[in-house]
Symmetry: C2
Subunit: 367 residues, 2 copies
């Protein structure tokens, strides 16, 4: 029996409720697949600010680094919203742990669950056959560049305007682009063999560097088709003809926007998970947020969290059979018509609408 150490980060809002279901699934799998999981819970986000004054306490980072994988639920909430640069914000915990663990590759698969296809706001024929993964660079760009705000009393600059000024810096180095693009090509090899590299090379210098590096790496993968696409065009194509995409690779901010856009193809953000990978411990989380409006009511959808466990089994523990079992269990629960409120529609029978814990139990029952 192999033992895996998992760092659990429940975070804020519905976080504690859904992570409990992820853990439930792991426990059920352990027995079947001859593995055991050891959990250590730690603080991240708003709750960490409340208890320690910092969004990413040192202790959390220590636990995460000593673990084989990190399972995160979600962070943030209106309680901690502020534009005051001197106040801590929950997101700093998320960004901090991404950076500290070197999680440069964020994988967000978008797949359509047959039973939920009608939840999409897109026509069935448009989302038919959609199966793509966004590979988002996660530790560079605007998220981590120098930023500053100051009051410009002298009104320097061509326009001589006084008042507040602020800037953020979008910076990339060659090796940062190289490793994420390479990751995308490796991923494409195991899938349909197509990479769309998204940039804004007609405007940004970082995008021109991105494109050059992408072309150089592409040379090493003659078996993979590569398409350059401008980010504005990509935003259109994702709606207009999403089935053309297999692997989509892009920088951090574009990836943030496009992956959320792509998530809507399914019509159910509550079903999408993501993996953040680097060279060491990886982190898994749902694509959705902490949903403070429904926190504590036991009605949140735990399936994205459970599917982030699937990704953990696949990428961190190489337990492909266990991962497949989770995917199949989720599919079968959906096929039987079980729904949490967010994925129910007006034809869902009332007695098939279940809460967070019941949904977790249903998945476990199918394993």
């Amino acid at each position: 029996t192999t033992t895996y150490k998992i760092c659990l980060l429940p975070g804020d809002g519905i976080g504690p409720e859904i992570i409990a279901e992820g853990r439930k699934v792991l426990d059920a799998l352990g027995a079947k697949f001859d593995a055991s999981f050891e959990y250590t819970e730690a603080l991240l986000g708003g709750i960490a600010i409340d208890e320690t004054g910092e969004a990413l306490p040192e202790d959390t980072l220590r636990v995460a680094k000593a673990s084989d994988a990190v399972l995160l639920a979600a962070v943030g909430g209106p309680k901690w919203d502020t534009t005051d640069p001197n106040k801590p914000r929950p997101e700093q915990g998320l960004l901090g742990i991404r950076k500290a663990l070197g999680l440069y590759a964020n994988l967000r698969p978008v797949r359509i669950f047959g039973a939920l296809a009608d939840a999409s706001s897109l026509k069935p024929e448009v989302i038919d056959g959609v199966d793509l993964v966004i590979v988002r660079e996660l530790t560079g760009g605007l998220y981590f560049g120098l930023r500053e705000r100051f009051y410009d009393e002298e009104g320097c600059g061509a326009d001589g305007a006084t008042g507040q000024r602020a800037y953020d810096t979008l910076e990339y180095r060659e090796y940062e682009i190289e490793r994420i693009v390479r990751h995308a090509f490796e991923t494409a090899r195991k899938r349909k063999g197509r990479v769309h590299s998204i940039d804004k090379a007609n405007v940004l210098e970082t995008s021109r560097l991105w494109r050059e590096v992408a072309h150089r790496i592409a040379g090493e993968y003659p078996d993979v088709e590569v398409v350059d696409m401008l980010v504005d065009n990509a935003a259109m194509q994702l709606i207009n003809n999403p089935a053309q995409f297999d692997v989509v690779v892009t920088e951090n901010m574009f990836g943030d926007i496009l992956s959320d856009e792509a998530s809507m193809l399914t019509g159910s953000l509550g079903m999408l998970a993501s993996a953040s990978l680097g060279d060491g411990t990886a982190l898994y989380e749902p694509s959705h947020g902490s949903a403070p409006d429904i926190a504590g009511q036991g009605i949140a959808n735990p399936l994205a969290q459970i599917l982030s466990v699937e990704m953990m089994l696949r990428y961190s523990f190489d337990m492909q059979d266990a991962a497949d079992a989770v995917a199949a269990a989720v599919e079968s629960v959906l096929d039987e018509g079980w729904r949490t409120g967010d994925i129910a529609n007006n034809t869902t029978p009332k007695d098939r609408i279940v809460g967070t814990a019941a949904m977790g139990d249903l998945v476990v029952s199918k394993l």
Copy 2:
């Protein structure tokens, strides 16, 4: 009879073909609405590079500044694609004229034409009632900040990596945010009275400044409802529930991405026009590009160009009746089933599929 001086910029690809139809419509209107239009053609984009070595020749800027309005078709094409920072690119012409004329407010209305509603990849019930306008900041942010590329031989920085590095700067000053947000609120007052202000305040310092300024301006418009929304969420909401939006205001790069995404709600980019306004001469153009693949074939859709003439009449010449006449003419041509190839579907009768010039003639016949 008032005489208006119009600077025509045909640009590249299908540009010359569609701008001819815009001009045709203007000429037809002149007689009816007691106005006359004087045209001066100038070079911009790839054609300007070919003929003068520069994407925005000085002469073009002189003509534009001396005009009452600028009508642009489209610029760019694979012929001029390059990642070499020392070579001129067509987009520099577009960005250059936006900056030189101080066109800080880009208005992109998204409306659904009843006759084309089925062209959308979204379900009819989702796009029902969609009528929104994106107000994009156009002369600041990443588009105009300092950018640089260099070879880092010493590998400075925490990771000591050598290789190429590049950066772009996202910068905003208070007055730049203030004037565009104010523009959005003024626009909302004449519409449904709702403004969504889009930013990424949980990460970017420029966004936090944006949000603070937006809130301050909002105080002056108690009759307008204001909603802050993060850009990733906006990318989702535009697909999921587009009818919630009235006026959407955002910075340059977010506006580029979101306005193209929003354009796809209609399913027909060939129908969308935009106005770029500042304190002086304004510029009008289709939202689509130069479509080099179909250039010279006489099959391009001129309707977005014609609808950009509608916006010119409205915003630069205050000829509301003439503008209404153009909008009604386009609607009536579509209602009769006339289509260019890009907006035809498989139930469009062959004999109702027309070319660029015939479509222009049809619109003129309805004025």
